[in-house]
């Protein structure tokens, strides 16, 4: 892979992840259905994970795992830190999504609808 191709790849990943984040944000901010909003949030999460992985990628990178006999070949390894952060972020994102969906179930129990306009006892 030469420099130009690497740059194209980098922009592609960057653009893809930012598009994903924006699409998710759009859904979270404009949709009226509670489940759609949460779908939007989980898309945003996915975009951010891709963004972080993209930051850590290097040209002709290899996975940061040492195989027997190649203990000193750190030169081309991709950055392991964003990967560790993404591992944490994925699990946290899942936890938050689960809590959100349980709240949706409870809201449905009380209101019998998922339309955000109908669930407006409190001021939004």
């Amino acid at each position: 892979m030469n420099n130009e191709l690497y740059e194209i790849l980098r922009y592609g990943i960057l653009g893809g992840s930012i598009l994903l984040i924006l699409i998710g944000l759009y859904a979270a901010l404009t949709k009226r259905s509670l489940i759609k909003i949460i779908i939007g949030l989980s898309i945003v999460d996915g975009g951010i994970h891709l963004l972080l992985i993209g930051i850590g990628y290097v040209k002709n990178g290899t996975a940061p795992i040492f195989s027997p006999g190649f203990e000193n070949s750190t030169a081309n390894m991709v950055d392991p830190v964003p990967q560790a952060l993404v591992l944490t972020a994925i699990v946290i994102g899942f936890a938050v999504t689960a809590v959100a969906l349980s709240l949706v179930i409870r809201l449905y129990r009380h209101h019998n609808t998922l339309e955000i306009d109908e669930i407006k006892n409190l001021k939004w």
Binding site: N72, M77, P80, V91, I92, L103
Partner: protein, 231 residues
């Protein structure tokens, strides 16, 4: 009207995000030698762990992992609290997918294989890709498969809470025992062995196995709570 405002807002956000990451491809970061090289170096030379991500998740940034399993624990607890009803019927789950004999037989066949894969992944977390989170989630998907295929398949809440509590307690105790030996919290206090051996890396594989148990129990319990929720 509202959509227009949102789109404008998003355009601004997107613009700022693009410009703040764009230069990375051309010039690279302003600081060329970040913490990355240190991690790659020390993982092999001091911790004798083949998978750098494992060493970062469990050792260098082990405190994050402790916080993270706490987040999962809190989410599972919160789920039980939010869906709590005075009289709730445990065991009589409404059928999500009425499954055929083939699905049932296939799940029975796959279940041990999935569990075995999960255990393999978290036992070898320091040698190959994978580890506690990955293995734990794989085991949870195995239980999910069984829960979906069999209406009467049930997991004991008590056993799950024993597993998650004991795994969490041992995680913290392992961290604290490092302190009592005159080192710092979560510091390795066991012999590290040789690179690429199964018994290497000191406390790293032990902690990752505990994380695996905890994540598996937590996620299974979480799915089970939601699955038992009836309208």
């Amino acid at each position: 009207m509202k959509k227009l405002i949102v789109i404008l807002l998003l355009a601004v956000t997107g613009y700022f995000m693009v410009i703040s990451f764009m230069d990375l491809g051309k010039d690279g970061p302003v600081v060329k030698n970040g913490v990355k090289d240190f991690y790659l170096d020390k993982t092999v030379s001091e911790l004798k762990v083949a998978n750098t991500i494992t060493s970062i998740v469990v050792n260098f940034r082990g405190f994050d992992t402790l916080g993270e399993v706490t987040v999962l624990f809190l989410a599972a607890t919160a789920l039980g609290g939010i869906l709590y009803k005075k009289r709730h019927h445990v065991g009589e789950r409404s059928v999500l997918f009425p499954s055929s004999t083939i699905v049932k037989a296939g799940s029975k066949l796959l279940f041990p294989a999935i569990i075995l894969l999960g255990v393999y992944v978290f036992v070898h977390g320091h040698l190959s890709p994978g580890g506690g989170f990955q293995g734990g989630t794989i085991i949870a998907t195995g239980f999910l498969l069984m829960l979906l295929a069999y209406d009467n398949f049930s997991v004991s809440h008590k056993v799950l809470s024993y597993i998650e509590s004991f795994a969490g307690i041992f995680f913290v105790l392992f961290g604290l025992s490092g302190m009592f030996m005159g080192k710092t919290f979560l510091e390795n206090f066991m012999p590290v062995g040789n690179l690429n051996d199964l018994f290497s890396g000191g406390i790293i594989p032990i902690i990752y196995i505990l994380v695996g148990f905890k994540v598996a129990a937590e996620l299974t319990g979480l799915i089970y709570t939601v699955l038992n929720e009836k309208e």
